[in-house]
């Protein structure tokens, strides 16, 4: 019980006008550093590069920027090579994300079981994810090396033939996809595993009592629970794979020929080899648009179930 009349008035110094004003503006002051960082490191470069994409401009060369509006976009979209790069990137993304999805999922199901040494296996599996992509690229380049590579040695010993992985277009794409898959399947696994761990035990038991088979239990109990995380894994991996540069650059430099020349490689060439800064900005924006469209359709797909459920309810 608080009896305010009994307590003596508190001794508070009358506060200065400044202090009161400071108090009122404190939230603004506290937010300011974040705001400055956000604008300075994120918003400003974004808008600046958007602006650049409308100019013919090279950061390396002395000529003045020339406003050409959609000229960069036009020449990019009219360039059959860029469309080929889109195709190559799409093939890589589909292959890599698909494989990572399957493997990550499988690994998660395996690691969801209890067995001896599970924690050790789990931490070992997470190791590739912690590595620098450049290191992974270099590492796989050696694995695929026809003279010194481990893979060639194994296929030679076991099957009596070697695949020249990085010398033919299709195997090279497979090789790059495998490297990325090696690195990122554990990521998908981690997300799926956390989903699996979140499946309520009672639901699984309920399904047992209901006589649901393994597949039906999986479809009706497990899948709905892990679906949002699966979608998230696919979304994140798609965005990342779309941008992948380091591993490819180190392993193949986009070769053989242009078989693994993805958009990021093309962007790197435009920006840092040809120093066509304006055009590179335009390509970066085209990629951004594609990523946004992709991720939005993913999100829509992911939200569909929820909203459908709500519609039914109302």
């Amino acid at each position: 019980m608080r009896d305010s009349e009994d307590t003596p008035p508190r001794l508070v110094k009358p506060r200065s006008a400044f202090a009161r004003m400071f108090d009122r503006r404190l939230p603004a002051w506290l937010l300011a550093p974040t705001g400055v960082l956000l604008v300075g490191l994120f918003l400003f470069p974004l808008l600046w590069s958007l602006g650049l994409s409308f100019y013919r401009y090279s950061v390396l060369r002395a000529r003045d920027p020339k406003l050409i509006w959609g000229g960069n976009y036009g020449s990019l979209l009219g360039d059959p090579d860029i469309w080929t790069r889109f195709g190559t990137t799409g093939a890589f993304v589909l292959g890599a994300v698909g494989l990572q999805f399957v493997l990550g999922f499988g690994l998660a199901l395996l690691l969801h079981q209890e067995f001896r040494g599970r924690k050790v296996v789990l931490s070992l599996l997470l190791a590739p994810m912690m590595m620098a992509p450049v290191a992974v690229g270099a590492f796989f380049k050696f694995i695929y090396d026809p003279t010194f590579g481990v893979l060639g040695f194994f296929t030679q010993t076991l099957f009596g033939f070697e695949v020249s992985w990085l010398e033919r277009p299709f195997p090279a794409m497979v090789a790059v996809i495998l490297a990325d898959t090696w690195m990122w399947s554990p990521f998908v696994m981690l997300l799926v595993l956390s989903g699996l761990l979140a499946v309520p035990k009672h639901l699984m038991e309920m399904a047992q009592i209901d006589r649901a088979g393994r597949w039906l239990t999986f479809r009706n109990v497990v899948l709905p629970q892990i679906k949002p995380l699966l979608m998230l894994a696919v979304l994140l991996r798609t965005m990342e794979a779309f941008k992948l540069f380091d591993t490819i650059w180190v392993m193949t430099q986009g070769g053989p020929g242009t078989a693994t020349e993805t958009l990021s490689v093309a962007l790197y060439r435009l920006g840092f080899q040809y120093f066509k800064t304006g055009k590179a900005s335009a390509l970066a924006y085209l990629m951004l648009i594609v990523v946004i469209v992709l991720s939005n359709s993913y999100l829509r797909l992911a939200m569909r179930d929820v909203s459908a459920a709500h519609e039914e309810a109302s």
């Binding site: 009672h202 047992q208 009592i209 006589r211 649901a212 009706n220 109990v221 629970q225």
Partner: protein, 358 residues
């Protein structure tokens, strides 16, 4: 034939002994209640019967069949989980129909049964909705519905009414009782609520620390608790206990009163006596007491009005006792000295070492 028979069932989770040699025989068609505070092993016991938990030791028999090593699907049991366990992505209708589908019931039959069940439980309006849009009480009813929608040899209910409000709970108690009578199947019902345990079942097993303390019809448990634990746990408000001395002739003596009891087979010496609040009669001093009653004076410590009765807390020597005063014409005031009396046969004498009730 679906009696459930547990033989020396034990189950430990790490250092915790959840079930410690449970012996239980539930007759076919019986409404059987497991009563006990939380953590006493009720849920584990139900789960062991359902088969989602394997006992470390002992056997589970259902309908004359040893099912100890059978998976849940082969035991023909239906269970209501305290956590509802509804499939979140299916509508209520689908949730109810699911157990039937898995048993290849025809669609017309499914429709009939789902609708009947929903009607019975008052959840018809929720049928088209996903579970996460329901209130706790609705979800619990759907969970019950999932169990009773199909025919099973044994129904296992784990605190199925815990999330309902008082009114609905009362209604559901009656409904479940009636439902059981209609179905005629064995029903094992776990609850910490003694009102449920007293009103619904044919028999109730009071559990204590993973074993059965007493297994009797509800009234028997109430009137003749066999253990201190049961005496203490069953009854609302709880029984009063006082330290006492027992002599060889069966006479007990407390700080406030002395009386003769039938506790002859007990060792003389220090003991505990108990008397239920509803067996105590409180009257202003000077009123005559029944001739065969034990009576003593006490001071009123507090009075709580509980509607149809007053709960009177009394100071008796160094202890407190509670009594129920249901005579509304008499009001008691704090500090007032009153006369307390009870019939001597309503006194329980408890051996403090064996905790047995005489």
């Amino acid at each position: 034939m679906a009696e459930v028979h547990l033989r020396d069932v034990a189950k430990a989770f790490g250092p915790t002994q959840a079930l410690d040699g449970v012996e239980l025989r539930v007759e076919d068609g019986e409404f059987f209640c497991l009563l006990g505070p939380s953590g006493v092993g009720k849920t584990t016991l139900l789960r062991t019967i359902a088969g989602v938990e394997r006992p470390d030791r002992g056997e589970v028999w259902i309908g004359g069949r040893d099912v100890t090593h059978l998976p849940p699907a082969e035991r023909d049991v239906a269970m209501v989980f305290e956590t509802y366990a509804l499939y979140p992505h299916l509508t209520v209708w689908e949730n109810l129909a699911y157990p039937l589908r898995e048993r290849r019931v025809g669609p017309i039959d499914i429709k009939r049964r789902v609708e009947r069940t929903a009607e019975l439980l008052g959840i018809t309006h929720t049928l088209g909705r996903p579970p996460q849009t329901l209130s706790g009480g609705e979800m619990q009813r759907v969970a019950v519905g999932r169990a009773i929608v199909r025919e099973a040899q044994v129904y296992l209910f784990d605190e199925p009414l815990s999330h309902l409000d008082a009114q609905l709970r009362e209604h559901m108690r009656a409904e479940l009782k009636r439902l059981h009578r209609e179905m005629g199947s064995t029903l094992i019902y776990a609850t910490p609520d003694q009102l449920e345990a007293m009103t619904m079942p044919d028999r109730v097993a009071v559990l204590r620390a993973g074993s059965v303390a007493q297994c009797d019809p509800p009234l028997e448990v109430y009137l003749r608790p066999k253990r201190l634990f049961v005496a203490r746990y069953v009854g609302e408000p709880p029984m009063n206990f006082l330290d006492a001395d027992l002599d060889a002739s069966g006479k007990v003596k407390t700080a406030a009163f002395a009386c003769r009891t039938k506790a002859r087979d007990m060792v003389a010496g220090a003991c505990l006596v108990g008397v239920r609040p509803e067996d105590l009669t409180v009257a202003p001093t000077g009123r005559p007491t029944p001739p065969d009653a034990v009576s003593f004076a006490a001071e009123v410590y507090a009075v709580e009005m509980c509607g149809d009765y007053d709960l009177v807390t009394l100071t008796v020597g160094a202890d407190h006792m509670t009594a129920i005063a249901s005579d509304h014409s008499t009001r008691f005031a704090t500090g007032q000295t009153v006369n307390v009396s009870f019939a001597s046969e309503r006194l329980y004498v408890i051996d403090p070492v064996t905790e047995r009730v005489a």
